[in-house]
């Protein structure tokens, strides 16, 4: 028995070496997909190696460009999808750089081309270093921007603005034109940025369906929740339990640090729904662990009545307790024969809805 609070540990340990048998068709498909023409001959492979190295170099060069693009994209709050692809490229970048060093070493005394390629590589690596330095600067700037933020909070996104300005200062040494562009963008951002909030309200169905979890994900100075049942809260996130089912309008009003106010409205519908979720159509009472009993699955029922009859109409099973399942024996406890049986279910839910259904069950041993 383990401590339930260590769910992360329980799962990561249990799955650490978890294996499952794979359907052979997967390999067949993979094999078809990766089938290449003929393998290269050994004579061609020497020349091929040089080419491959160049190819890697070019790939890295383009990766470096994309990496640069990533930081710019990040700064200008480009859409998240781009970030994602850039991130994965970043990962590949690391792999590719290391790989190249690995290949390049034994190559140097073999091939004339290698000198050329090595120098290529050198430029690229320098390139990579530059990118890294920029990243480091970026981080430092972020940190300083944080402290600035507390003093000068004129815009709703002060961090964003000051970050760009300082970065611009760094870049200034290299490129004056670029600076102009960045500055312009910065101004635009300052004007455009507005105070946005987003509220989340969820009904916790597996409690009593009367409790909601509410939360504001944005950075706000103050928030006021009105739950529509006369209650309110000023917590950023929490739970609220309604005393009755029904539809409620939840209004969250939030204030930003510089006094902007915004409200958001969410509708909460608290309903108990009763249903018959599943009725098996076959049972195999042979104690193999699967489908051994006739097990009806219900949600929120208050009244339940199940009758099972054989083909002659003789009752073989009857219960009003959904927890009691039919194991394929008749009322005297003798095993029923293979064949078709009929069931009738009459049920009433907590919401006073009646559920009447009937059907047939196949019994196989």
């Amino acid at each position: 028995m383990k401590n339930v609070n260590d769910i992360e540990e329980l799962f990561s340990k249990s799955f650490e070496n978890f294996e499952q048998e794979v359907n052979p068709s997967v390999w067949t498909n993979v094999q078809q997909a990766i089938q290449t023409p003929a393998a290269p001959t050994s004579a061609a492979s020497a020349a091929g190696k040089g080419m491959a190295l160049k190819y890697v170099a070019i790939a890295i060069l383009s990766v470096a460009t994309v990496t640069g693009a990533y930081f710019i994209a990040n700064e200008f709050n480009a859409n998240q999808n781009e970030k994602q692809s850039a991130l994965s490229v970043l990962e590949e970048d690391k792999t590719a750089t290391n790989n190249q060093t690995h290949i390049a070493e034994p190559q140097s005394d073999l091939n004339k081309n290698s000198t050329e390629i090595l120098s290529d590589k050198h430029t690229i690596q320098t390139n990579g270093r530059e990118t890294k330095t920029e990243k480091e600067i970026n981080n430092e700037v972020k940190m300083s921007a944080h402290s600035e933020k507390e003093n000068t909070s004129t815009s709703t996104k002060p961090e964003f603005v000051s970050e760009n300005n300082t970065v611009t200062a760094e870049k200034n040494k290299q490129n004056a034109e670029q600076k102009e562009t960045v500055k312009e963008n910065t101004k635009e951002t300052a004007v455009v940025s507005t105070f946005e909030i987003d509220a989340e309200v969820n009904v916790l169905e597996d409690y009593d369906n009367k409790t909601i979890a509410f939360s504001i994900e944005n950075e706000v100075e103050k928030v006021e929740w009105n739950f529509g049942d006369g209650n309110s809260s000023s917590l950023l996130s929490g739970l609220h339990r309604y005393s009755n089912f029904g539809e409620y309008v939840v209004i969250a009003t939030a204030w930003s640090k510089n006094g902007q106010k915004k409200s958001i409205k969410k509708i909460v519908n608290l309903q108990l729904i009763s249903s018959i979720d599943f009725v098996p159509n076959v049972i195999t009472p042979n104690n193999d662990g699967s489908n051994d009993v006739f097990n009806v699955k219900l949600s929120n029922m208050q009244v339940f009545h199940l009758i099972i009859v054989d083909r002659l109409g003789v009752t073989v099973f009857e219960t009003t307790n959904p927890e009691i399942t039919w194991n394929g024996n008749d009322l005297n406890g003798n095993p029923c024969k293979n064949g078709t049986y009929s069931y009738v279910i009459k049920a009433v839910g907590i919401d006073n809805k009646t559920h009447n259904t009937n059907g047939t069950i196949q019994l196989l041993r």
Partner: protein, 179 residues
């Protein structure tokens, strides 16, 4: 064969090496894919696409790192691609809105703990499952998950805490763990 030899063979597109590499890792990788899928079929589809990528990009593998870790990252990324693809077809339903029912009797505690846990994971809505996997098992931060799944960091956090609460409840019910 060592991993190094396997990779070398795969780079040269030797069929034998490819098969050997597949045989060595496919079972364990299916274990990874299963956690991200709602069914075995879905998991095998991810596995298949993932291995095609592995053989396609084997040149890019860094010999100093762990081969298993590299393949595993490809599998996880393939699973996420799959998730993002399906997200488009879900009419942009927020993952939070997904309603579901967990029935306690679906989870008979089996001798193999991982199998029992897998059953629980597979019952979770896709959004919950993905976030839970990435955070609890793969060990990504909420910030990273936010970028990966195109959601906010806060959404990842709240999804995770809810997924965790549900799982915890089931575990207690099933006595897989005790407090």
């Amino acid at each position: 064969m060592t991993d190094e030899q396997l990779v070398e063979g795969c780079v040269k597109k030797q069929a034998l090496a490819q098969k050997a590499l597949y045989d060595k890792y496919s079972r364990r990788m299916l274990g990874v894919c299963l956690r991200y899928a709602s069914s075995t079929d879905e998991a095998q589809d991810i596995l298949q696409d993932g291995f095609i990528k592995v053989f396609d990009k084997i040149e890019a593998f860094n010999a100093k790192g762990s081969l298993e870790g590299w393949i595993r990252r490809i599998m996880v990324n393939t699973a996420l691609d799959n998730f993002r693809k399906n997200k488009k077809h879900m009419n942009q339903t927020d993952v939070d809105d997904v309603k579901y029912l967990l029935k306690a009797d679906n989870f008979v505690v089996e001798s193999l703990e991982a199998k029992a846990l897998l059953k629980i994971i597979q019952t979770l809505p896709t959004g919950f499952r993905t976030v839970f996997n990435l955070y609890a098992i793969e060990g990504y931060s909420h910030k990273e998950i936010g970028v990966m799944l195109d959601v906010s960091e806060g959404t990842s956090k709240s999804q995770y805490s809810r997924a965790r609460a549900y799982i915890q409840k089931i575990l207690e019910k099933e006595n897989i763990t005790s407090r």
